[in-house]
């Protein structure tokens, strides 16, 4: 799950900083770190449409997302009107949610971390443990492919012993320019559980970035969550007060 988190992060957060290490990336560890830094940046601001698709049903939510570094992020729903101003704050591995109707900030208890985030195919853990991919897994290069004329590294990530992870194995595809193409999540029995893929790579903010991210369950073809970036800007920094529960409660912007 932790890996998932990471992924989710980039999706939502789109950070700026970037392209560290655009140089050679034979070392898979460095490659993953570089890719992570590329999509997270130092800080970012984005507007994203999240589509939750089910066989008989679909729902679109528009979310504003701010991220800073690897640890902090803030999400706020701006549409549909019924759900406007519902927010989620993530700091380290803790999460808080805010609902304007009851006007309360609630810290998510550990028991809720495996639940779905806003009804999507992402779990709270995907968000809260987004840096786990870097911290808790060891990566090895298992092959290369090509994508739009560029080299793609296929990386297998196994959890480090004793690491508090949810997934038994991850398979990452990272393009040589550090763009994340996909991440597959396997359980302890190495069965595929879900897969996240990135599409529509184009200039967003100041860099090439996949506009659409899709999280798809392995056993249900018709069930997926799609994140589509409408707006993305990488920044050098964001004010610290943005990532506080009081800001979560009182949106200043």
């Amino acid at each position: 799950m932790t890996k998932k988190l990471c992924i989710v992060f980039f999706l939502l957060l789109l950070i700026s900083a970037g392209i560290c290490g655009s140089g050679q990336a034979q070392d898979p560890q460095a490659l993953v770190q570089a890719s992570f830094d590329y999509y997270r940046g130092k800080a970012s601001f984005a507007t994203v449409d999240m589509t939750v698709h089910r066989p008989d049903w679909e729902r679109v939510v528009t979310i504003k997302a701010w991220t800073k570094g690897q640890e902090e992020s803030l999400f706020r729903i701006i549409a549909p009107p019924k759900d406007r101003d519902n927010g989620t704050l993530k700091k380290g591995r803790e999460m808080w949610i805010f609902n304007p109707k009851v006007n309360r900030v609630i810290k998510l208890p550990p028991s809720m971390m495996s639940q779905s985030w806003m009804g999507s195919d992402f779990s709270n853990n995907d968000l809260a443990k987004s840096d786990s991919l870097i911290k808790d897994y060891s990566h090895s290069l298992i092959g290369t492919e090509t994508h739009e004329g560029m080299k793609v590294y296929v990386i297998k990530s196994m959890p480090k012993p004793e690491a508090p992870v949810v997934w038994g194995m991850l398979e990452l595809k990272i393009r040589e320019d550090h763009i994340f193409l996909s991440q597959a999540f396997y359980d302890e029995d190495l069965q595929l559980v879900k897969i996240m893929t990135a599409h529509d790579i184009q200039m967003l903010g100041d860099r090439l970035f996949p506009k659409v991210w899709k999280m798809q369950k392995a056993d249900a073809k018709d069930e997926y969550t799609e994140l589509s970036y409408k707006e993305l800007a990488f920044k050098d920094g964001l004010p610290e007060h943005l990532f506080t529960t009081s800001n979560l409660r009182n949106p200043r912007r």
Binding site: D56, K82, D83, N99, V102, R104, I106, L108, M112
Partner: protein
């Protein structure tokens, strides 16, 4: 033949103490078996009926897949239609509607992820024991909106009391964020810890508003008049539901589908009971074998005399078998009669239970249990005893054929 029977009868009473002891052992085994089996069978009915009354009911109508997935969108869209089918089905005692949502429930102090259940207060009272197990505060009334009942354990975990506010945040049927503030109106103790720790009840109307249910519910819960009638009712209800749209199929589940753990608990209890009975029967069998065998050894000289004056070994065997069968039958008859009397007494007055096993207790067994005499519970045990004792009696009866008259006469 007549002479043999007479001889056997007299032989039995030649050593009354030994014979009475043997017969008492048999009678006691039968008595115990009759009582315990009746008790077990009776307790299962009580267990099931009290377990279904805590929450699940005998039958539920749900959208297909809801039982496993518990997804908000798998609803019974028109509960009224199911209600009128249940009205018309004979054997249904009461029914109610419920909707469930896994939500974040938060007090000032703590937050837990638990199931919020929307109930129809008036109907619920006829189906489940919820109204009767309220320990503090009061049950929901028809006018209540944002009032809630919660389990005592949950109230303790959340550190709330009557009148305190709880915030609930979950997801509505349409995927939107559902949030409301409710006031604690009462707490309950169902006896089933898991239930008391993980559920909160609010009025169905309010639930439907908050969770955007558009009139839908997740479960239509029904209680039958008797446990035995459930399969027939299930069939009748399933037959009446018109599933026109193959994408939204409604299914009827019975208590076994709804509470697989309960039937497992019963099986476990039955098996541990059976092991106990086998040991009991074995002990009885050995003590009977002992007395039968001693009877032959003691009477070796007597048999020698009989053989010397021309009794065939076959006739001796027959005699011995007659003796043991007579004792067994007397023992069994006495055992059944005494067993039935004792069981019947408790069937009328009930037995106070304090130390039931945990497996059974979590399903909320009432304080008094009533054994239930039935043809099966009265006959199974004694039949087994008859069978085992007859087998046991064969050994000494056949052994007597190996006696040599001269040697037998010489023994003391």
């Amino acid at each position: 033949m007549n002479v043999d029977v007479k001889m056997a009868w007299r032989n039995i009473w030649r050593n009354p103490r030994r014979s009475i002891l043997t017969m008492t052992a048999i009678a006691f085994a039968c008595l115990l078996l009759v009582f315990m089996l009746s008790f077990q069978f009776g307790s299962y009915d009580t267990m099931i009926n009290s377990a279904v009354k805590i929450h699940t009911g005998h039958l539920q109508v749900q959208a297909e897949g809801y039982q496993d997935k518990r997804t908000m969108r798998l609803v019974v869209p028109d509960p009224g239609a199911i209600g009128s089918i249940l009205e018309q089905t004979p054997g249904i005692d009461a029914y109610t509607y419920r909707a469930n949502a896994f939500s974040l429930v938060s007090s000032e102090e703590r937050t837990y992820g638990i199931v919020v259940i929307g109930i129809d207060p008036a109907r619920e009272a006829n189906v489940s024991t919820l109204k009767k197990v309220i320990r503090q505060g009061s049950y929901l009334s028809a006018e209540d909106t944002n009032q809630a009942l919660l389990g005592e354990l949950l109230a303790k975990n959340l550190q709330v009391g009557l009148g305190d506010e709880l915030v609930m945040i979950g997801q509505g049927r349409d995927g939107s964020v559902a949030a409301t503030v409710v006031e604690v109106k009462g707490t309950y103790n169902s006896g089933q810890d898991e239930f008391d720790r993980s559920s909160i009840h609010i009025p169905l109307k309010h639930f439907q508003d908050v969770y955007a249910m558009r009139g839908g519910v997740h479960e239509v819960v029904a209680l039958g008049k008797s446990l035995g009638a459930i399969p027939a009712i299930r069939k009748a209800v399933a037959g009446s539901i018109e599933n026109e749209d193959p994408k939204h199929v409604l299914v009827v589940l019975d208590w076994i589908d709804l509470m697989p753990g309960l039937i497992e608990g019963i099986k476990l209890d039955l098996i541990s009971g059976l092991i106990l009975y086998c040991i009991l029967i074995l002990v009885v069998a050995f003590s009977i074998l002992n007395t039968f065998l001693m009877a032959v050894f003691e009477r070796t000289k007597e048999f020698g005399v009989m053989m010397a004056i021309g009794t065939t070994p076959r006739r001796l065997t027959k005699l011995l078998l007659l003796e043991s069968i007579a004792m067994t039958v007397i023992g069994i008859v006495v055992g059944i009669i005494a067993g039935c009397l004792i069981t019947w007494y408790f069937q009328v007055h009930g037995i106070a239970i304090s130390g039931m096993s945990e497996v059974v207790r979590q399903f909320g067994i009432p304080e008094r249990m009533y054994p239930k005499l039935s043809f099966l519970s009265v006959t199974i045990g004694p039949t087994l005893v008859l069978f085992i004792t007859s087998l046991t009696a064969l050994y000494p009866a056949l052994r007597v054929r190996r006696l040599r008259p001269v040697e037998a006469l010489a023994s003391v």
